[in-house]
Amino acid sequence: MSGDRDLAVIGVGMHPWGKWGRNFVEYGVVAARAALDDAGITWPDVDFVAGGETVRNGYPGYVAGATFAQALGWQGARVASSYAACASGATALQSARAQILAGLCDVALVIGADTTPKGFLAPNKGERGDDPDWLRFRLLGATNPTYFALYARRRVELYGATRDDFAQVKVKNSLHGLENPNARYRKATAVADVLTSPLVADPLSLLDICATSDGAAAMIVTSMEWARAHGHADPVRIRGVSTVTPTYPNPVIEMPNFATDSAAGIGALPTHGFKSSIARAAYEEAGIGPEDLSCAEVYDLSTALELDWYEHIGLCEPGDAEGLLRSGATTLGGRVPVNPSGGLACFGEAVPAQAIAQVCELAWQLRGQAGARQVEGAQVGLSINQGLFGHGSCVIVSR
């Protein structure tokens, strides 16, 4: 089945994740070249560049679209830059999609790259007493893992999850990423490795929490018509892209906030929480459901968050994620492998590139080009994450 709002993904590419310490533009150029080669087109064929932004790399990082267009050699393409924290890549894809579906362009490069500092992600320097992202560090020491740990402890309390359950997520993802040439960590991990790694924010230890990495991802998307006219008879297709914001009142404490919305005076909470609503909007656009998925790439900022996503994307009911994991359903060879790439556990997070990298992996899976981590007969894939400040990000692809 083909919808009239589909896009073709005709090329994908990455710069391997790592801690390379070079300028992010360099990584982006490598990823762009790989995606162009994969698509069998040249740079001047691109008429729109959609860059995922980062806010840590100074001035060029804020204008990612133009920065990469310049680095590849000005050729007049139109550009846009998108900032949506972890969701920047999906927002960039959405911007390219709107251009293509509006008939304003045929061929777009969607690209994101990052060079990350060592240690915790932290706000920009300066005294900024009116910025919640600055204040959460100053007043509370509330790092990103602090929030991950608050959610993880809810799973422990509500569903009886254990640190051993969380460790099993890391064990699975490490296994998946073992032979992924773009992954930063390619080493088998045992439950004991996770449990004996230093506690960061209990119940989460160092190996429960993803690192920050350098890396870049790029893809070439086109209209279906253009793809067919240029020899791509059966490309991987973008079926749905969700960039929704929450619905009031959001009862979950989200980074970088100090408080939730108040449910007083509103009657009832929304039927679906924010994370569930992100997936639902993409499913609705694509006209498919969780039962159709062959695989999924979900944002495992922490091991426990991967379990939350199982429930939010409808793989199981709330409270059943630990059981689903332990059944083997989400492991390669199971019913619906999750994070066949190895996920953030093996990559670490390169913020503006990561949501694009998720879609690159799905493209390789759906083309049967994923090598040792191939999901047998993959036909439909979903990628999902949530960006700081209320950014939803979900992409559904199919053959």
Binding site: L135, L139, A142, P145, R153, N257, A264
Partner: protein
Amino acid sequence: MTARSRVPAIEGWFTLDEAEPKLIGTRGVDSGSYFWPPSLAVSANPNAPFEAREPVELSRTGRLWSYTTNHYAPPEPSVQTAPYTVCAVELEAEQIVVLGPLATEADPAQLRIGMPMELVLGPLYSDDEHEYVIYQWVPAPSIDGRIGPASGVEA
């Protein structure tokens, strides 16, 4: 050397009443929704986005929604030294969850989700002239019978 004067680490977020400090929020006059903290562009009730808001002191007790103890020193501009504990407390009347530090003297090993918590004041950091004070949460088992149950919102 004279004693340092106690000043709030952030202006206008809480009262400096040593015995019974309270968070200072606002309430929408049409919707009845509560908002905190007061000094940032926080959320609005979409049914009344332009409503007037009146200042209001929030409940100083609630139930522990979740908590974690951090074992690594946080990056700048943080001033905490590890280990330090962050609590999320659900206020019943306001139906809002508020993040805050665990009280300096409290033992994180005693924390349990759903337990009653109470607002106190404690030190955040000091310089030559001032001690900067922050609101904190402390377990308050004695009030258990006097506040409602936790709501059980999803993770």
